[in-house]
């Protein structure tokens, strides 16, 4: 049973300060804004301010929640389509990052121990360079008449992309789903490689030895031992790619086209062009709800990783 004095003492201790300062910061700058967004999403705009939600007038307590923005989102096919499209492109990007990134991380982890730091540095180096500039570089590389375009069209890949619906015409590569997915995969690849590498590098190779001793081929050992053990890395990498991709704005803006409208752009337009704050706020709330399940998975992984490191 702690006394009042002990409570007071613990509140004023250094421990409270160390925990309290970042906590307070997060509450004020992370949680509070979300609450305000939720509030604005159900508010009615009056000139440039918002009408109060709770009004006490003539002895009557009135709570007004305006759900018309949410109704509008649900009714208008544009918004639903855009959300689904964003989820789709994020999922495709995640799959490509996994397909390219997993072997990449695997071979990095299996390389000679002396070479690994250099390999890691080479992966980090583009990450330190501005991502905006690298996306801009793809704008130049994929532009019309460029050597990349000639390479792709010449090798017949252009026809393949056109058949798959990834480009509008067999020639043009810019401002298409292809350029968008390429840009997003390129940008988020290090986010996939790094957690996977961290996971694979720590793997106990003796398990694979034991498997081969027991008669498993390298292929079987890979799928039954390596992959399941790297599950935590796969989940971490996938979440680090998928969740930000859903709300990505810069890459669709620079590399995407009219057919690749994503929800980040819609929110931007609602806020900056239409000045419709309740609408933008509602879009944000729906987006957070959409990613809340992957977010919870990511959080659980982070917590488990911390425990597992002990």
């Amino acid at each position: 049973m702690t006394t009042m004095r002990q409570h007071l003492r613990s509140l004023l201790s250094g421990r409270a300060a160390v925990i309290g300062m970042p906590y307070l910061w997060l509450l004020v700058f992370f949680l509070l804004p979300f609450l305000i967004v939720a509030r604005i999403s159900v508010s009615e705009m009056q000139n440039v301010t918002f009408k109060d939600l709770i009004v006490f007038k003539d002895g009557l307590l009135q709570l007004t929640l305006k759900f018309s923005t949410y109704q509008f989102i649900g009714d208008d096919a544009l918004y639903i389509d855009t959300y689904l499209r964003s989820l789709k492109y994020a999922a495709v990007t995640t799959l490509f990052c996994l397909a390219i990134g997993y072997p990449f991380a695997y071979f990095m982890a299996r390389a000679k121990t002396t070479v690994q730091p250099a390999l890691l540095m080479l992966v980090m180096l583009p990450f330190w360079t501005s991502f905006l500039l690298r996306v801009y570089a793809w704008k130049g590389l994929l532009s019309e008449g460029g050597w990349v375009e000639q390479l792709i069209v010449g090798s017949g890949l252009g026809q393949l992309l056109f058949q798959a619906g990834l480009t509008e015409t067999a020639g043009r590569l810019m401002n298409t789903p292809f350029s968008l997915v390429l840009g997003m995969t390129y940008t988020y690849l290090p986010f996939m490689v790094l957690p996977l590498y961290a996971n694979l590098a720590k793997m106990d190779l003796r398990l694979l030895e034991a498997a081969t001793d027991l008669g498993a081929s390298a292929w079987v050992a890979f799928w039954t031992i390596t992959v399941p053990l790297s599950k935590a890395g796969i989940i971490a990498g996938s979440m680090l790619v998928f969740i930000p991709c859903v709300g990505e704005f810069v890459i669709p803006e620079l590399l995407g086209g009219p057919s690749t409208l994503m929800i980040g752009r819609v929110m931007w337009d609602e806020f900056f062009s239409n000045n419709d704050w309740p609408m933008a706020a509602s879009l944000a709330v729906v987006m957070v709800l959409l990613v809340i399940v992957p977010l919870a998975i990511f959080n659980k992984y982070q917590a488990e990783a911390q425990e597992g490191q002990k």
Binding site: P22, P126, L132, G140, L141, E253, A281
Partner: protein
Amino acid sequence: MNAATINRWFGRSWLGAGYLFLYLPIAALVLYSFNDSPLPNVWRGFTLKWYAALAVDEELLAGLWLSLKVAFMTACGSVVLGTMAAFSLVKYKRFTGRTMFSGMVNAPLVMPEVVIGLSLLLMLVSVQRAMGFPERGQMTIWFGHMLVGMAYATVVIQARLHDLNPQLEEAAMDLGARPHQVFFLVTLPMITQSMLAAWLLTFTLSLDDVVLSAFLSGPGSTTMPLVIFSRARLGLNPSVNAVATIIVVLVAIGVVVASYLIARAERQRMLEMAAANRA
């Protein structure tokens, strides 16, 4: 050719192709910054005129200066808050609201920036209406960047704190050190390297940020990425290539030097520890 050789060559070619993919745009950026033609596909000759144009580009230079200031403040603030948060999460196993704290610390890592930017802006506007401050500008951008920066700093420092040997701190406490002395004299020197890494990471992120800066900037506080972004939206512009090349060269030098210094410090530490063990 047995399976091991095939595996090794497959691995090397996959890594090679991967690195090629990663570095192709960077190489293109650097190459075309010297191209005497506004179009990146037509090579017309070597020139430094884009760099010359850069030196008198008022808008971009002003943006660069602002970005550097904000990035510096962001990095310092993020490391301080991140160290505190990491310390709290690692050392204090149970306190009220720990799960929520952990969730809030990790969420900005993945949350789409449009959501963070919009929510922060709406909050700042509400506060501004109620209390008349803060004005949108340098400070608001700083707050937004520090929120995301803190998340990254916490992850980096937390990893290092976990790996620390608790016996060293326990020994210090046995010898009579107070908790704050333990932290400043024992813990802090051991995590300095990851604090530095976190500082560089948050500096880079802040320097490169577009969306948060766009939401949180005010008139007269345009950061460099915003300038580049608005130009890139309009089309291709070789002066952007010139900026890119300079940044790439600086970053490359920085990373290589840092890696070398870290490797050297590590070797020295190993030698010292071996010597201490022998004594």
